[in-house]
Amino acid sequence: MTTEPITTEAKKVRNFSLLSNRAGAAFLTPAGLLVSVFVIVPFFWVIFVSFTNRTLLGRTALNPEFVGLANYLALFDPATFFQRGQFGFSLILTTQFVLASALIGQALLGLLLAWLIQTVPPWIKRLTETFVIAAWILPEVVIGFAWFAFLDRDAGTLNMMLNAIGLPSGDFLLDQPFWVIVVFNTWRGAAFSMMLFNSAFSSIPPSYFQAADVAGATSWQKFRDIAVPLIRGHIVTNLILITMWTFNTFTPFLLTNGGPSYRTELVSIYNYRVAFQDFQFGKGAAVGVIMMLINLAFALVYLSIGRKKKAPGT
């Protein structure tokens, strides 16, 4: 590569490409191989199987048949679509779950935390950060059990505290399972948004805020008029990732098993039940494909919002 003529090198710099295609390809090879074998091949397998009636057990395990769109039509069968324990119910539940726990919960709480810890004393910042990040990095089996103990009707920490301030105990896992998993997922994932926004805020030149201080702006005004517009790109990335993660998350299963009465059966849990408890791979694959299309739709919407709003500014 060092033998290449200077002119090519110069041309590359003009094209904003520091790496020749050959070197680039070499750099991509290890990741390319791994991703091909463990992501792309399974991906096409899933697409293919979603058009068959393949099962793990029973007659169609040995001789799966091509059934066209039958799996998809069954999932969207209007007769059962909205019933609890069916695909439509799960899908609506998951949409509410994403809205409440990712967009409102994680993103807003993360934004608030990131903004707060810009100004608070360092020891509060360290402590708060550590607990928020601990919730994010501890193993999910441990977290699942911690929450199980926390919410226990008879002896859990939460009810103990409620009783201490004179409030009655609650049977949260049975009475409010949906809100339990919303709060749980917000708690579990807020760290990522906090860290991302935190880094975004610290990348804003301090002079912008100093100018606003001179003009007598309040914290809210600085937040709304300076910080948020400047980190729009980060917000879009964050929303794409946390939406996708929340949409696919399986961790609430450890807390509720999808119940009671399927009231917390998110699509990922529905998918698990269809594929691994009922052993219907064809139908499970169809669920997986639809989940991907929904993720795609989310990503496109965010990207178009990000682009549109960024355009006038830049």
């Binding site: 791994l34 991906f43 708060t128 914290s219």
Partner: protein, 274 residues
């Protein structure tokens, strides 16, 4: 300082501290129960304080071996993800390979399908055909493949945000592009790599399903599976032992986080943006 500003700072601090406390609450139980020989689901100060739960846990050879297995699988996976993602993300950011813009988004979407349980079957078949069933390598490779798209996505954004002038000036001074990568770019993107390392370690360390499907012998099972040996015959948790083992099982990720945040500062450095 003017009064409203002071008031505002106190309000901010109080709010931040309150949120921090709320995040700590569900974990409080884990600080006490492991040291209580009669721990139940309720929160109670250990009386007497004891290490007997830990003694019992250390006596469970399967569970202790499992921690080591988790470490092998997590470290192996992290090295593979870190190296492959760095190289690939750098190529995607700095070369002019056609279609590179779309590729990370598409891979990210693909990986969202594969992370669903439906893809466990093809992955099982691939590993089985490769003769890798019941090996650490099976788990390491599968995790590496599954985590790479997201790792590349995060890291590419990070590298995009670093001015190209760093490497350009090195190349003007006569360095080859590969030299520029190793000597100039790599040190600059290290904070991004650290984020990827912690993120993938945490993911592999905590994961249950993939090792459960790909491993068979108890000698290879990681801690996420072994923790179920602290459930009783009927499937109810043996609270005391479970709490003690959970604490041991959680220590490596906490230690990793503390080390990284002390040594490198655990943050994104304004790296990620679309």
């Amino acid at each position: 300082m003017k009064f409203p500003a002071l008031f505002g700072r106190i309000a901010f601090s109080t709010l931040a501290a309150l949120i921090g406390a709320a995040f700590a609450l569900p974990l409080l139980w884990f600080l006490f129960a492991p040291f209580n020989a009669r721990a139940e689901l309720g929160l109670a100060i250990p009386d007497p304080f004891t290490l007997s739960n830990f003694n019992t846990v250390f006596g469970n050879g399967f569970a202790m071996q499992a921690l080591w297995n988790s470490l092998i699988q997590a470290v192996g996976g992290v090295i593979l993800v870190g190296a492959a993602a760095t190289l690939a993300a750098y190529a995607l950011s700095r070369s002019s390979i056609p279609g590179k813009g779309a590729v990370t988004y598409i891979l990210l979407l693909f990986s969202s399908v594969v992370s669903g349980s439906a893809a466990m079957v093809p992955i099982f078949l691939i590993i089985s055909a490769a003769g890798l069933m019941d090996t650490h390598l099976a788990v390491i490779l599968t995790f590496a493949g599954g985590l790479l798209p997201t790792a590349m996505f995060i890291l590419r954004d990070f590298i995009d945000s670093i001015p190209k002038s760093y490497e350009e000036s090195a190349m003007v001074a006569g360095a080859s592009p590969v030299q520029a990568f190793f000597d100039v770019a790599l040190p600059v993107i290290r904070p991004g790599i650290v984020v990827i390392v912690v993120w993938s370690f945490v993911n592999i360390w905590g994961s249950f399903l993939i090792p459960f499907i790909l491993l068979r012998s108890s000698a290879n099972m990681p801690a996420a599976v072994a923790i179920y040996s602290f459930y009783s015959e009927a499937g109810t948790p043996v609270v005391t032992l479970l709490a003690a083992y959970s604490l041991i099982y959680s220590l490596p990720v906490v230690a990793l986080y503390l080390f990284v945040s002390w040594r490198f500062g655990f943050r994104f450095f304004g790296g990620i943006k679309a």
